[in-house]
Amino acid sequence: MKKYWKSIEEYETGIKQINDAHIPDKIQAKEALKASRRDFLKYFGFSVASAAVLASCERPVKKAIPLLIQPEEVRPGIASYYASTFYNGCEAVPILVKVRDGRPIKIEGNDLSRLTKGGTSAQVQASLLNLYDESRPKEPVYQGQELSWEQANSDIIQKLSKLDDDKQIVFLTPTIVSPSFQSLLDNFKQKYPNFKQVTLDSYSYSGIREAYGKVVGKSIIPFYRFDKAEVIVSFGADFLGTWLMPTIFTHQYAKARKISNETKKIAKHIHFESYMSLTGSNADERYIIKPSEEAKYLLSLYNELAQQFGHPITVKSGFESELKTVAHNLVKAKNKALVVSGSNNVDVQLVVASINQLLGAYGNTVMVDKETLLYKGKDALVHKFLDDCIEGKVGAVISIESNPAYHFPSSEKFIKAINDVELTVNVSSQKEETSQFFQYVLPSSHFLESWSDAEFIAGEYSLAQPVIRAIYNTRDKHQIVLDWLGERSKSYDFIKSFWNKHILNKTAETNAFRSAWKQTLSDGVFHSDQSTKRKVSKLNLDEVSSRIVKQEPVDGLEVVAYQSISVGDGKMCNNPWLQELPDPVSRICWDNYYAISPSLAKEKKWKQGDIINIDGIELPVFIQPGNHHQVISVALGYGRMMDGPNPEIIGKNIQPLLERDLVSIQYFTDVKEVKSVAATYELATTQTHHSMEGRALVRETTLSEYLKNPASGNEMHAEIEKLHTTLYKEHDYKGHHWAMFIDLNSCTGCNACVVACSVENNVPVVGRDEVRRSHEMHWLRIDRYYTQLPDDPSSLRVVRQPVMCQHCDNAPCENVCPVAATNHSSEGINQMAYNRCIGTRYCNNNCPYKVRRFNWYDYTGADAIPFNRVDATGMTSDLKRLVLNPDVTVRAKGVIEKCSFCIQRIQEKKLEAKKDGKPLVDGTILTACQQGCPAKAITFGDMNDENSEVSKMMKDPRRYHLLEELHTLPSVGYLTKVRNTEQSNNKNTQHKTHS
């Protein structure tokens, strides 16, 4: 039996020490001492008095105000779904927006999209809250003075026309994915010949584009097909987390790794990286390299492959022998192999392109005919723009949602240069650092208030429509540019006529166009199979390889900057849902940190939370198993102001570390100086709170074992099944018996389900201090366990397991509730009646899965008594409360809550079936976590229905239940994880146990 451990403390000190995590910490002990007999009497008196006051109150008169004119499609209490598109400068995802009584309350994936099939990411799910953000710019502002839109627009137009002919007008934008907006800019260019558009991406993919400029003659990013790959080799590309378009890639990856009775084949995933990333933690084989060595490793791989294919090799870089087996795997898969790299170095990407060419991947797993239209920025052009600014060639800078003061490489230079520009306009829908340096600040609408469209992969279109009237005095970006062009048309009309002419290709104002447009608007997505044929030319790598080989090896510490799963590039930093989302690897939320390997910590004598200073930036240390001994990894996207009742800057911006006057930005650098600061910081982590004490929770096997015996790794299940016996009366489910299955082989740990669950079920945000006290409220958590030895990072394996209420048939929580607030429903659901709960927390103590959450305070403004409220993040404001789901009770202080299997969704679909007089079809009910999952790892259905998906999974030999030896009979089942490795991992897995 394999041993798992959840944190480095647990590994080092054994299980005994871990129990200390449950002892109240200093804060709690202090507070417990503060409450005296006098306080008790005070509270007692207060409660008696308030009860008396409440009892004597008259019932408030409630008003029922119908709409003056009731639109036919809007029905009170019934949600409408509108298709739209999420895009915030990184990936674009087709979505559906659920609107109840005029306000958007949930974002779901658009299942009509053939790329995502309804998948989302944590950021997509959470982007809804940015709509209800009070810190958004509300009115047009000129030098701190509010003015009207008309005034601002006419001023800007006047100033633009007065500019000298030799002065440039620059639009600084993130990548424009909207073809209609691009055409608007083309119109702008015609009107103002000095117009120039500069793309500023928050994370640069310039290297790939430049490399493909040499490979296919046009600087594109090809479209990668992970679903067609049998062997995936990634060099530091976190494609399941943040690289390019993780939502689509996760969908493809899960498809390639789905194992079932029909397809007993899964893609092999080999990962080279320097720090523990989400993608790396999912890999079958993981190699730890220094970031500065990546180029040499790739070159060696190229040589090794060339040799095995019988092609001429180039200059050797010295790692050939280490890569023999990897190359062998790739050669076996041939054109069904895919090699990717996350590097922004042109030479590295040229080697990758050559490797894919050797393998014959073009047209199979790498599509150059169908390019990816994201991240169009080029580092050289960005630098040119800065030089132009400094030289005074620029007359006007109009930044549209690009926040250059934060995202610009060497932003200080930019801020200095911008002072001398005659006209500066910042168009933004969120609060941006840039606004304070620009003359005009124009509030643009949130994407949920705007008309727009997107073409994120050539031929894959998606429309975006407003789902709510603009909350503040904002205008959408199309409208703003239309106004500057002096055109009278509205953005909707412009987009419609653009689609008419260029995309739907129907004659104007005919019925054919009208119906095609209506259909597209309703579907949200549209695709055409047109593709541009591109010829891949053979490259000569000699020059590149000699450059690579010449690089001096870095001897010493290196810093790697990555984007975190939750905060990403930092655009949505002002989002409590994302800030409270624990990182899928480190399980830390609310801060960034320097992650170091345990061996480095030992060497430098750094402990968890010690603050260190690297080249002037101080951050706490987090000991992360799986990092390279000499690598310190740290997340980008922090150091921005979080508004709310207690505004604060969250984490530190580490971009300055990367600014070394390079033409193209590299996301790693060597450390010049590192100092220990005699201070510590307590990181808010959800890691050690839920320790499951080393039992067989996650079961796994290897592909070869699985092919011999599908139940391998899960032998325990058959043993336990024999022991079924109970004193309790068995439940008789006459109608439905709901069950959920989670395929551990599909789950990548992307966290989309966690946010989806929080949004759907009004799960409160508690804030950093409360998380430190283990008061986090997420109904669904993704447990992460390490296996193998942390001293040997390349052998380290990670397993993940989403855990929510298991809805046991023999539920231990039900038996101990003194007021029967939690009991069993006739459909197998462990029900929780909040209004009945008195908060004894006996159920919480008796739950072996620790999935019940207690409302220590009122976090969402449900209580009538303001004294109960703890609102660290402003979630109780009137505007933010608009996001609450009206079908789910907002819990008050002092009650237990937990996963309900999205009972509101079950009831809704059951009622629909009853109204239609038809049996409920399997797959109609989608829980929130299931709907948003990009990997389709979660299945929900009726166990009593023999033909349902979950019934089939009940018969799967991979099926098991969490802690099934306790005979709790959970309704949630798991399917074992299958790794595509030859040898069993079970060898030398004994982890040190302290007696």
Partner: protein, 380 residues
């Protein structure tokens, strides 16, 4: 004895203070009113009030203002405009216009009932003054009779006396009497406390006044309009749907005079519609926030009749909450209501019940048998 003497002392002091206060206030009053009383505003207001109540009248044969235009609304509907509604109209009128409306109105129904009124200009001014003052100060609280409170206080006082006598004065010899008074008093108090707290948040019989005197009896009873015509959402959504002014105007485009209310009430609706103003109806049936209730479930899937919960709405001028909407009331109904088990193929999954029905073990399936009383059917 001590208590009695101290009480006497207190009485003496108290009367002196009261006397002094009276003197001062009358002195102040006289100082402020050098003009004759019959020329003050107070006098005009007083006369206006008396005119309104019919205590002074130009023609004693005719009914007083208040007999039709009541200050407070009662349990039965009063189609005539209330005092407050008159105030809102009369404020914008000149004395001449006011006189025309009161003494010789043009409108058909109004002309009939106001026939014979011939108020003098002075009285009209006084009446108008009273009305505008009413608009400023409001009609005040309706004096409510609270016999239960009286009973509560009475027993509280009796128990207090019994306690005082038991401990201090000891006038009554038999302690059984004290005990009896206290026991009965306590049980009366506890019973009332229990009943009051059980009723907390429940409002059976609630019948608030609405901004427009809309009568369900006229619409659903006299004119036999189907409930679902106005409550358009009842078969689809959780809420039945309150019709907006646009839906009302489907009929009231043409119907501008009510069979009982005359023109005034419908005029309010038309005004709201034309000015684009919302009508803020008072919600009659309220459930707590933690209860999920769906009309579609009960009316569409469960095929219940509206009257089963809402009573005979077609006989109500003022809508009244017929049932207490308590949880017990819901659960009892679920226990006794049959499910349309064979008619709806959604229920085909309940194989065991179907076989029991066909074998004759059961004659019907109640809502409770298919889990209607599970907590999470309503609380989530």
């Amino acid at each position: 004895m001590k208590i009695e003497s101290s009480l006497k002392l207190f009485n003496a002091r108290f009367s002196i203070v009261v006397l002094l206060l009276c003197l001062f206030s009358s002195h102040a009053y006289l100082q402020n009113h050098k003009v004759p009383y019959d020329q003050t505003i107070e006098y005009d207001l007083k006369i206006g009030e008396r005119l309104y109540y019919g205590l002074i009248s130009d023609n004693p044969e005719l009914p007083s203002c208040i007999s039709c235009h009541a200050k407070f609304t009662g349990d039965s509907i009063n189609w005539n405009p209330s005092a407050m509604e008159i105030v809102q109209v009369s404020d914008s009128l000149t004395v001449k216009q006011f006189k025309a409306v009161v003494n010789s109105p043009e409108d058909g129904f109004l002309a009939k009932v106001h026939k014979g009124y011939n108020l003098s200009d002075e009285h009209l001014t006084q009446l108008k003054l009273y009305l505008s003052n009413l608009g400023k100060e409001g009609v005040g609280e309706k004096s409510a009779t609270k016999p239960r409170l009286g009973l509560f206080l009475l027993w509280g006082f009796l128990m207090f006396l019994a306690l005082v006598d038991l401990l201090f004065t000891k006038k009554v010899r038999y302690k059984v009497i004290h005990l009896l008074v206290i026991i009965v008093g306590l049980s009366v108090h506890l019973k009332m406390a229990y009943e009051e707290s059980a009723d907390l948040g429940r409002s059976e019989g609630y019948m608030p006044d609405q901004p427009i005197k809309f009568s369900h009896q006229v619409h659903a009873g006299d004119n036999k309009i189907d409930c679902k015509y106005c409550h358009f959402n009842v078969e689809q959504g959780k809420s039945a749907g309150i019709p907006g002014p646009d839906l009302c105007m489907n009929c009231h485009m043409i119907v501008r005079e009510g069979s009982r209310s005359g023109k005034s009430e419908i005029a309010k609706l038309v005004k709201n519609f034309e000015e684009g103003k919302d009508i803020a109806w008072v919600r009659v049936h309220n459930l707590p926030d933690h209860v999920f209730f769906s009309h579609a479930q009960h009316v569409n899937a469960g095929q219940l009749d509206c009257a089963q919960c809402h009573g005979k709405v077609e006989e109500m001028h003022i809508l009244k909450q017929e049932n207490d909407l308590s949880m017990g009331w819901c659960l009892d109904c679920h226990k006794s209501t049959n499910v349309n088990f064979t008619g709806n193929s959604y229920y085909s999954i309940y194989e065991k019940y179907h076989s029991e029905l066909s074998m004759g073990v059961r004659d019907s399936i109640k809502a409770v048998d298919i889990g209607a009383n599970d907590c999470m059917k309503c609380h989530y």
